[in-house]
Amino acid sequence: MNPSLPRREFLRTSTALIALPFLDSLGFRRLASAASRDRASARPKRMIFLGFGWGVTQESWYPSMEEKGRNYQLPAGLEPLAAHRNDFTIVQGLQNRYTNNGHYGSTFWLTGANEFGEPGQSFHNSISVDQVAAAHLGQETRFDSLVLDCGAAARPSGHGLGLSLSWDRSGKPMSGPKNPVEAFHRLFAKDTTPMEQQQAMLAQRRSVLDQALENARELQRGLSKTDKDKLDEYFQGIRDIETRLSREEKWLGVPRPVPPISEPKPDLLGYEEIQLMYDIMLAAFQTDSTRVVTYRQPVSTLLTSLEVRIDAHTMSHYPGKGPEYLEASEKRDQAQSRLLAHLLGKLKAAREPDGSSLFDHTTVVYGSNIRTGHLLDNCPTLIAGRGAGVKLGQNVVVPKDTPLCNAWLALLQGSGVSVDRHGDSTGVLKELLA
């Protein structure tokens, strides 16, 4: 990117996702709501990605590989999901071929990148599937995506490097609300400032950003290539804000939606925290505030809230330990499945204006890059929701070591995102298609 281009021009050239005809915010809203009334299939597609770090109990979470298809016995770890068994599919045999770090449950889970892929760099990552989706599905909402995280609990929860599940188009970690209260405020905080003043402040904000860009350009002149690359992050950061400001401008005067839930209590950790985050995701969809959500869930505090006194990492190595470790691991699976059942139930119960349910238009991905311990093959993968036209109620077994990214590609395409590859994908995971 040539930073000497004027900013406005930049907005036109590289943020194609802000479709220009929609810049008239009123016209845009008319258009969007008209479309929504048309027919069920035109309801917007949505995606949720839930990552749970330290994997699962392999003996009791996976259905038997022998029982492919519909008629499989629901294993104990998925038992709390019994009511939904026809509405989710387990995929077995997927992996990220480049991931070799047994402590990275989330770093490359949605990206499929090679940590060592760039010579001269000790770490490399690329865009995550949710951000690919957000660029397409997120154009008409106030937020193109909602990136949720568990903050300080992430490190002992086996997620590995990163600030959330999401990585932006330059492969940089993205951050977002780290607890239910922050998430709630992000979505529903009321701005009572008069419209005129909001406009003036936006203009002022722009001018501050222009100054910042100018300062960066001044510095850039004397820099070497490597340093320029680093400074590019600064440029990009500012441009991302500008893109967001343009979006805010479009939404200026559109009042924040009335939250369908009350403000969460602060300081809840573990089980209740995850459940609240799920409720907030649902609220985000119900108010159409965003259509793409990721959540890096806590495991360490989940255990604490379940009164398990074993630390999460040791628990994940239960095979070499005593029975209490196995028990802790299974308790974790049960709790996570109960939470997911709660979310799926809510998605099914939430009605769209046309009488269909949110579940009919949403894809829920639930999994981790880690199976158990340091095992990184046959990554636990559960897909629910009818948003991407995936066949549900199945125990799908794919050839060993099929790229996870093939599944992500199938979900992207099924959700109407026209891309032909993602990460290290070698094609669409056909086994998922109905």
Binding site: G102, L223, S224, I238, H317, K321, H374, D377
Partner: protein
Amino acid sequence: MAKPFSQFGGVCVAGLAVLSSLSVSGDAAEPKPRAVLAERHRKLLEEHCQGCHGAEKQKGKFRLDDLPLGIGDVATAERWQKVLNAMNSGEMPPEEEKQPDRQRKADFLEELSQVMVVARKALADQHGVIAMRRLNRREYRNTLRELLGVEVDVSELPADTGGSGFDTVGAGLFLTSTQFEQYEAIGREALEMAFSAQVPSSKERKLRVEMESRLPIFDKRHQEGLGARDRANAWIQAVDAAAARPENAAKVAELRKIAQTDDALRYHWKKIPGAPNPTEFGFVKESEVNPAIVYLYRNHVEFIRYDEYYRTLPRLDTGGYLTSQSRVGGGNNVMALFGFPIPLHFPAGEYTVRVRVAAVPGVPEARHFLELCMGSSMPALSLHHITGTMEQPQVLEIPFTLTKANVDRGSRNLFIRERGANDGKSDQRLKEAQVRNGFGPEVALWVDWMEIEERRVPPAPGIRALTIPLEDRGAGVAPQPLRAALEQFVVEAYRGVSAPAGMVDRVLGIYAARQKLGDGHREALKHALAAVLSSPRFLFRAEPSENGEHRPLTGLELATRLSYFLQGGPPDDALRAAATRGELLRPEGLRAQTERLLNSPESVRFVRPFVTQWLGLDRLDLFQFSKALYPRFDDAMRSAAREEVLETYAYLLRENAPLTDLLRADYVVTNALLAEYYGLSGVRGDAFRKVLLPAGSPRGGLLGMAAILAMGSNGQRTNPVERGAWVLRKLLHEPPPPAPANVPEIARLAGKALTTRERLQAHQEEPQCASCHRKIDPIGFGLENFDAAGQWRTKDTYQGLDAAGKPDPKVRKTWTIEASATLHKGPSFKDYFELKEIVAGRRESFARGFTSALIEYALGRPCGFSDDALVDGIVRKTASEAFAARSFIHALVQSKPFQSK
């Protein structure tokens, strides 16, 4: 040097041909790979793999015969990674095929995993290029403190420590749009705090509270407690009297069927005509349905006896004692915590807290510790050993920062309490003491008074630069002084570099625009200055170099690099002046400034982050230590154990003592608390100081430190693998490869009654485990005499659990610890002491590992193979100076890479 271990330090891997490296400029025409697998391994592949993955057949589209033994690019690395993964997971060779000899397979896997580490390191080598990097979270906080004199809350910013390297390494320091906005917000907040601190306060900000002022409250509560006991008994008598009335006999008989005891019967008082409501006796509403509340006051009368004991103590007229908390209440509960709310008009800023306090004789020394805390149940801010006597009490002086976060959250309650007062064991202590003396724990600390006083500090350079009013004034500020003030502020913010052309105009533009929006002078100025604090020249440490050539740093650039290295913050006035005078560009001038920075108390901002990250000390916080198994290793002890590591390095640096004292020493650096843990007598007070060890002590050096040993545990049991790997990584500079993915865990021994050694023996059975564990485990065995909390032991017990999670007596084994072992391809040792000697003999490897870490930390990039010459030079130089701690710093600072872009 002796050769107790296989020789694969960072430079040379056993069985590895080391070829010439890329030249430093990075323009070598034909780079030869550094990571090369020995030719002899080709044979194993030919015999066991190439039948299916060779020229004729390529099962799974994977071919091995054309795979070069030298790994020089990412694609080749990926193919070898696949080989390693398939063999580690046991997937290849397939089960039904002939398997390689176990020893041979283990050797092959050991070498391949090492070569992969070398390959990854070589491929990631930055060849000396130090990319411009932003301030990390810690440096950013320090920089704002030095510039504005305020302490900001940076917890919302990413921690920068998530990567495998140091938080100074540029590759891990990203900058996103969210962060940019956080910088803006934090900058404005910092300015707000700094501006507020400049408002002259007419009143002196000081508050002292005398402990004896609590005595009337004590007496009142005591009387209430007595009264409550009487009221409880009165209500009980009244209900019993009603129940005894003849006309209620049938009713009571009916109730007796479900309520056998008198206490149970009174739960049904409403059904007994004439029984009074407990609320009429002064009890809370809930007692109507739950008379247990009433019974509490009847049963737990110990508080009364405890109060009576307290009343007999001397010196209650001029002070008071910190008591244990008793159940239900009484006056003593008022005395358990002493403190006060910091007055609302005290702004965020720097304060001094003082406490006049004495140790009461006649109780164990371990109780003469006092904690300062914010909020009664919050963790302690600091812990103090009380050495003052009743005759000569001492005055503690504790520096205290009231943060913006404290102010915003309204947390202003400052307390002192006896150490461990909120460890949840008050009841237990109370009971134990009552059995002994009939009233409760004897008091241990007498307090005269406690006070807080604002610490006036001279305005920081950033504020000094603003030679204009900071508050709104009617007339406003004239343009010329405003411009001059901004220019000077920019110089301070940019660490001595003047504002580039146009910069001040842009900042003035923001000032004007804010005023147009309706802001007053103060608010507009804040926004304008915040723009400086989120500009790239502030956030990044820029060292412009047009064509990317390595050029010598300018004096100011060198000052900045030196200062962030040794103080974690911007250069101070003296350093900038030395740079401007050109002194820094001369070796002796640079050396003098380095010495000055190392002598300064601010060098703690180098010692703490560097040592914490170098040795991986944050692992100490990963686990909760079992209170049942290790009652003495509580939070205070854990934190003292951590301090020991930091203080020991600080001591070496201060005294310029040999760094190799970390391998073996006849002394420890400790305070009273930890000395007691180590069984050393005669150490008093909170200050860490050198204490000579008695002969035969296992302490002295990192291997004997409680923190290091505790990190090699999970809070319950020791983890010999973690300990062994740590020693290889940190002391011997032979880091084992990262734990491989997809190696199945050995599950068959889980839950069996075996010794730790027997359990780990299973590692030797599978070649893919043995390839690493044969190096790691023996070292761990040698440290087994230390329990999970770092205490010396001679026996260990395994206690299995049954299905219900209860200890199963059938699965229990106790054994005498056997700490002898043989190092892989190395010598044998018969116990911990011999192991320690072997490790202590590897001084040069240790120095090399330390040097690599120091380079990475100081230069902000991984220490690659292209740094070999630099590492060699530093190790040689320091060896000639008996590895004196400061010589490492000087050798690095004086080196060309440190002084070049």
